[in-house]
C-alpha cells in the first residue's frame, strides 16, 4: 500500500447509476477507485440486470429507460476491468477510516482516503392489517421478481400504496402479461394538481408518468385514488385472498387477489452513513431523517460523500449526476483541479431533479395518519411480530416516547431488518399515541452489521 501516498484510495460503495458515474469520474481524473457492490452484477436497482443466463432485451426490461440503462451498463462494463471491482461483496461496517467487507471469501478491511456511499434505496412501507400474510410483497420485491427472475408475485395482483413506482411496476406487470386486479393509491388526485408547479421541472419524466397511467387505464386496470387501506384479507395457511379498502367516497370495497404489492415511494439506505457517524437531520416534507450533506454530497464527516438515492430520493437520472458531483467533491478535497463550470452545471441539474422530487412528495405523500389509525391488532414490526397495540401499550405504560427506548421495551425494529422497514411507521405510531411531533421520537440508531453476518465468517484467505 506504499503507493497510497501518491494515489489516494477512493472506495465507492454501490454500482448503481450513482456509483457507476462516480467511478467513471474518478477514473477520468486518473484515480482507480475500488467499487464494491453486494449484487452479482452492476446496475443497481432501476437498471438491475438479469442473471447472465437470461436473454431479455433492454427494451423488454427497462421500457422507456432502456437507452439510459444501456448507457449505465456499457459505461460500467468499459471500466470494470480497470477499476478494482468487487461484486458479491457487502460492506457491513465502517470504523476508523476502513470499510469492512464480507463475501463468500470471508471478511476483509480496506482503508480509504475518501468514501463515496451510493447505496440506493429500498421501499418505504406503511403497515396494514394482514400485511404479514404470504403473498404480501413490497413493490420493489414485486419488480425484482419480474426483472431478475421473470416471474410475477401472483396470478392476480393488487398494487397498493402511493408514489410513482406504484404505477410503473403495475404497468410493467401488465406489459409482462400478468393480471393486475387494481391499482389503489392512497393519495387523492388533487395532490397531483398541487404538485404540478414542481413536477414541470422535469417535463420528460412527467410525460412518461402520465403515459403510464393512461396505459393502465387502456389495459382496463381499475386505478383508484384517495383510497384508505383497511386490511389485507387472508389467513396464515393460504396467505392473501384480497384487500379491503375505503374508497374516497367513503364506501368500503373488497378486491380479490392472491398477491399484493405494497409501497409508499422509497427511503434511502443510510445505515453506512450512520456507521460512519454522519450527522442526520429531520426532513419535514417527507417526515424522515436524512444524512446531512452539502450541495455536492459532502457528509458531515470529512472524507465521506453521499450520492444517489442513498442520500435523497431524487431518482435514477439525478443519481447519475450526484454520483459525478460527489466524485468531483472528493477529487477537489484531495487537491485535484476541478472545473468550476462543470460543478455549476451539475448542481443546476440536481436542483431541478430536487424540485421534481418535491413535486412527487406533494403528489404522493407518505400517509402518516394511517399509522395513527392502525387497528391494535395490526402488526407493525413483521420481523418480531409486534402489533400496533403492543407498541401503544409500551408508550402508555412505560412512557417511552423515543424511538430507541420504545424499541428496547417493545422489540419494534429489533429483528432481521433492523427497523429498515418498520422504523418510519413505528415512529408514527409512537408520535400519534404520545401526541408529539414525529421528529421528537427521533430515529433508530444504526448498528453493524448492515445485513445479517454469518457467525462462521473468517478472514479472507483463511480456511
Amino acid at each position: 500500500m506504499a503507493d497510497r501516498e501518491l494515489t489516494p484510495r477512493i472506495v465507492v460503495v454501490g454500482a448503481g447509476p450513482a456509483g457507476v458515474r462516480a467511478a467513471q469520474t474518478l477514473l477520468e481524473a486518473g484515480i482507480r477507485p475500488v467499487v464494491i457492490d453486494e449484487a452479482a452484477r452492476a446496475g443497481g436497482q432501476i437498471y438491475r440486470r438479469q442473471p447472465t443466463n437470461f436473454r431479455r432485451s433492454h427494451e423488454a426490461l427497462y421500457g422507456t429507460e432502456a437507452a439510459r440503462a444501456q448507457a449505465v451498463h456499457d459505461g460500467f462494463d468499459a471500466i470494470a476491468a480497470t477499476v478494482d471491482y468487487r461484486p458479491d461483496t457487502l460492506v457491513w461496517n465502517i470504523a476508523d477510516g476502513q470499510v469492512w467487507t464480507a463475501s463468500e471469501r470471508g471478511y476483509a478491511t480496506l482503508a480509504y482516503d475518501a468514501l463515496i456511499l451510493c447505496t440506493g434505496a429500498t421501499d418505504r412501507l406503511m403497515p396494514v392489517k394482514g400485511w404479514h400474510y404470504a403473498g404480501a410483497y413490497s413493490l420493489g420485491a414485486a419488480q425484482v421478481a419480474l426483472k431478475a427472475q421473470a416471474c410475477a408475485i401472483g396470478a392476480r395482483v393488487v398494487f397498493m400504496g402511493s408514489g410513482p413506482l406504484l404505477y410503473l411496476v403495475a404497468s410493467q406487470y401488465v406489459k409482462a402479461g400478468a393480471k393486475v386486479a387494481a391499482v389503489l393509491d392512497t393519495s387523492p388526485l388533487s395532490n397531483r394538481l398541487r404538485a404540478a408547479v414542481d413536477l414541470i421541472a422535469q417535463p420528460g419524466i412527467l410525460a412518461d408518468g402520465v403515459a403510464l397511467t393512461r396505459a393502465l387505464a387502456k389495459a382496463g386496470v381499475p386505478v383508484l385514488t384517495g383510497v384508505t387501506p383497511l386490511e389485507i384479507t387472508g389467513n396464515a395457511e393460504n396467505g392473501v385472498n384480497g384487500v379491503r379498502v375505503r374508497l374516497a367516497n367513503g364506501t368500503e370495497r373488497d378486491f380479490a387477489a392472491d398477491a399484493v404489492a405494497l409501497g409508499y415511494h422509497l427511503r434511502p439506505e443510510t445505515q453506512l452513513a450512520d456507521l460512519a457517524r454522519c450527522d442526520f437531520a429531520f426532513d419535514a416534507k417527507t417526515r424522515q431523517w436524512l444524512p446531512k450533506r452539502d450541495q455536492d454530497g459532502r457528509a458531515s464527516v470529512a472524507g465521506v460523500y453521499l450520492a444517489g438515492d442513498g442520500a435523497r430520493i431524487l431518482g435514477a437520472r439525478s443519481a447519475e449526476v450526484s454520483g459525478r458531483l460527489a466524485a468531483l467533491a472528493a477529487l477537489a478535497d484531495l487537491g485535484h483541479k476541478v472545473d468550476p463550470l462543470t460543478l455549476v452545471h451539475l448542481r443546476r441539474q440536481v436542483a431541478s431533479y430536487a424540485r421534481f422530487a418535491r413535486g412527487l412528495a406533494t403528489a404522493f405523500p407518505w400517509p402518516h395518519e394511517q399509522a395513527a389509525n392502525l387497528p391494535d391488532e395490526a402488526i407493525v414490526c413483521r420481523c418480531e411480530a409486534v402489533t400496533a397495540g403492543d407498541l401503544r401499550r409500551v408508550v402508555n405504560e412505560t412512557g417511552a416516547k423515543e424511538a430507541n427506548r420504545a424499541k428496547a421495551f417493545s422489540r419494534v425494529g429489533m429483528g432481521r431488518c433492523q427497523g429498515r422497514y418498520c422504523g418510519h411507521a413505528g415512529a408514527e405510531v409512537i408520535a400519534a399515541c404520545a401526541n408529539i411531533p414525529v421528529e421528537q421520537v427521533g430515529r433508530l440508531r444504526g448498528q453493524a452489521p448492515v445485513k445479517p453476518l454469518p457467525v462462521a465468517i473468517a478472514p479472507e484467505g483463511e480456511e
Binding site: N93, A95, D96, W100, Y107, T109, E384, T398, E402, R405, A408, F409, R411, M414, G415, R416, Q418, Q447, A448, P449, P452, L453, P454, V455, A456, I457, A458, P459
Partner: protein, 381 residues
C-alpha cells in the same frame, strides 16, 4: 440561591439498576427518595449488558450479596409488576483442554461455594457432552449451577424505577448532576440547568461516572470506562437453557452466550472496546466482533450456522481489583457509594439496592462490605 426542586430523606444520583433498586427498597422502608438520572433510567450499563444472572465465578466473599440478589430476582415480576424475563435456567462455566489446571480450581471453588449456599456440579467427558451436546472438542470440563440464569436488562432497571415511582419515589430523568457538596447537615446537588436538590443523605450510584462525583468529596478512584462487546443472532427454536461462559485468564477467550425465550442467541465478551462516558457513547470495534465470533465457534461450533443481526456495547466502569466501591464515604458522613461494578453488577444489582437501603436506613447491614471500601484507593490516588 433558588430554592431546591426537592427536599427528601435521600438523594440518589444515577438511575441504573443500583440506583433504581435502592430507590424502591428505601421507599419500602418509608424513606422519602429523589432519584436523579442524567439520561433515561436504565439506559447505560444496566440496559445494555449481557443479562447474566450468575453467581458462580464471583469471589466467595461476594456470594452472600449474590444470594440476597437471587431471592429478589425470583420474586422480581411480582415485586415490580412487570415481566423482566428472568429465567432460572442454569449457568455453566467451562474450561478448555489447554488449561487442565482449571479443573482443580473449579473443584476448589465448588467446595468453598457450597458453604455459602451455592451448589455446583462438576461435569467432564461424556457426562458433560450428554447434557450439553453443543460444546466443541476444546471444552474439557464444566461447572454447572442449576439455580443461576438470565434476565432482560433492557426491561429490568426501568421496571425498578417505575415500581419505585409507584411507591412514592420522585424520579427526575434528563437531570445531569454536575456539582455535589455538603452544606451544613444537608447535601445540595446541582444539575446542569441549575436546578438544585437537597437531602441529608446522598447515595452515588453513577456507574462509570461515579468518580466524577466521588472526587468532589476528596475521594477519587482509578475508574476505567470500557465497553464489553455484545452480538445477537437471528431467532432460532429455543433449545439452549443455561447461560454459558468460559473460565480463562485470557481476555480474548472470555466469551459467553445465552438464548432468550424469543429464540435469539446473545453472544458476549472477548476483547473489550473503548467507551466514552463524557459523550455517553460506546462503539463496538469490528475487529473485536470478529475475535468474539472466532471464540464462540470454538466454544460451540454449531453456532457458526447462524447469522448475527446486530452488535452493541455499553459503558461500564472498571476498578483495578475488579471489585466495586460500595458502602460509606470515608470523608463525609451521610454519603454512600455503590458504583464501579467492573463488568459484573447485573446479577447482584437488586441485592446492592437492598443492601444500600438497609445500610442507609438502619446504619448497618449483615453483608460484609469491607472488600469494597472506597478508602482502599487512598494510597493510589
Amino acid at each position: 440561591m433558588a430554592s431546591p426542586v426537592s427536599v427528601s430523606d435521600v438523594l440518589i444520583i444515577g438511575g441504573g439498576l443500583m440506583g433504581t433498586s435502592a430507590a424502591l427498597f428505601l421507599r419500602q422502608r418509608g424513606r422519602s427518595v429523589t432519584l436523579l438520572e442524567s439520561d433515561l433510567v436504565g439506559r447505560q450499563a444496566s440496559g445494555t449488558n449481557f443479562g447474566n444472572v450468575r453467581r458462580q465465578g464471583r469471589p466467595i466473599h461476594q456470594l452472600p450479596l449474590a444470594n440476597r440478589a437471587i431471592a429478589i430476582w425470583r420474586r422480581a415480576n411480582e415485586l415490580l409488576g412487570a415481566d423482566v424475563e428472568y429465567l432460572q435456567s442454569g449457568h455453566i462455566r467451562v474450561c478448555y483442554r489447554e488449561r487442565p489446571e482449571n479443573i482443580a480450581k473449579m473443584e476448589e471453588y465448588a467446595a468453598e461455594a457450597r458453604h455459602v449456599g451455592l451448589d455446583l456440579e462438576l461435569l467432564t467427558g461424556n457426562a458433560l457432552r450428554a447434557r450439553f451436546p453443543f460444546f466443541g472438542p476444546d471444552v474439557l470440563a464444566g461447572s454447572y449451577s442449576a439455580l443461576d440464569g438470565h434476565a432482560n436488562p433492557r426491561l429490568t432497571a426501568p421496571a425498578f424505577a417505575r415500581a419505585a415511582q409507584r411507591a412514592g419515589a420522585q424520579v427526575f430523568e434528563n437531570t445531569r448532576i454536575i456539582h455535589a457538596a455538603k452544606q451544613g447537615t444537608d447535601f445540595v446537588v446541582t444539575a446542569e440547568d441549575g436546578r438544585t436538590f437537597r437531602a441529608p443523605v446522598l447515595l452515588i450510584t453513577a456507574g462509570a461516572w461515579g468518580n466524577k462525583l466521588s472526587q468532589q468529596f476528596g475521594e477519587p478512584v482509578p475508574l476505567t470506562p470500557r465497553g464489553p462487546n455484545m452480538s445477537v443472532t437471528e431467532p432460532v427454536p429455543y433449545a439452549i437453557a443455561p447461560a454459558v461462559g468460559v473460565m480463562t485468564p485470557v481476555e480474548e477467550e472470555t466469551v459467553y452466550f445465552r438464548q432468550v425465550a424469543r429464540g435469539n442467541i446473545i453472544l458476549g465478551g472477548s476483547t473489550r472496546g473503548p467507551s466514552y462516558p463524557d459523550q455517553y457513547r460506546a462503539y463496538v470495534l469490528p475487529q473485536n466482533t470478529m475475535k468474539q465470533l472466532r471464540q464462540i465457534r470454538r466454544l460451540a461450533p454449531a453456532l457458526a450456522n447462524l447469522n448475527i443481526i446486530r452488535v452493541w456495547t455499553g459503558i461500564e466502569g472498571y476498578l483495578p481489583d475488579s471489585l466495586p466501591v460500595m458502602g460509606r464515604s470515608a470523608t463525609t458522613s451521610g454519603l454512600f457509594y455503590a458504583f464501579g461494578f467492573s463488568g459484573s453488577g447485573f446479577q447482584i444489582g437488586p441485592g446492592v439496592g437492598e443492601t444500600m437501603a438497609e445500610l442507609i436506613d438502619t446504619g448497618t447491614t449483615p453483608i460484609d462490605l469491607s472488600h469494597y471500601d472506597i478508602a482502599r484507593f487512598r494510597r493510589s490516588a
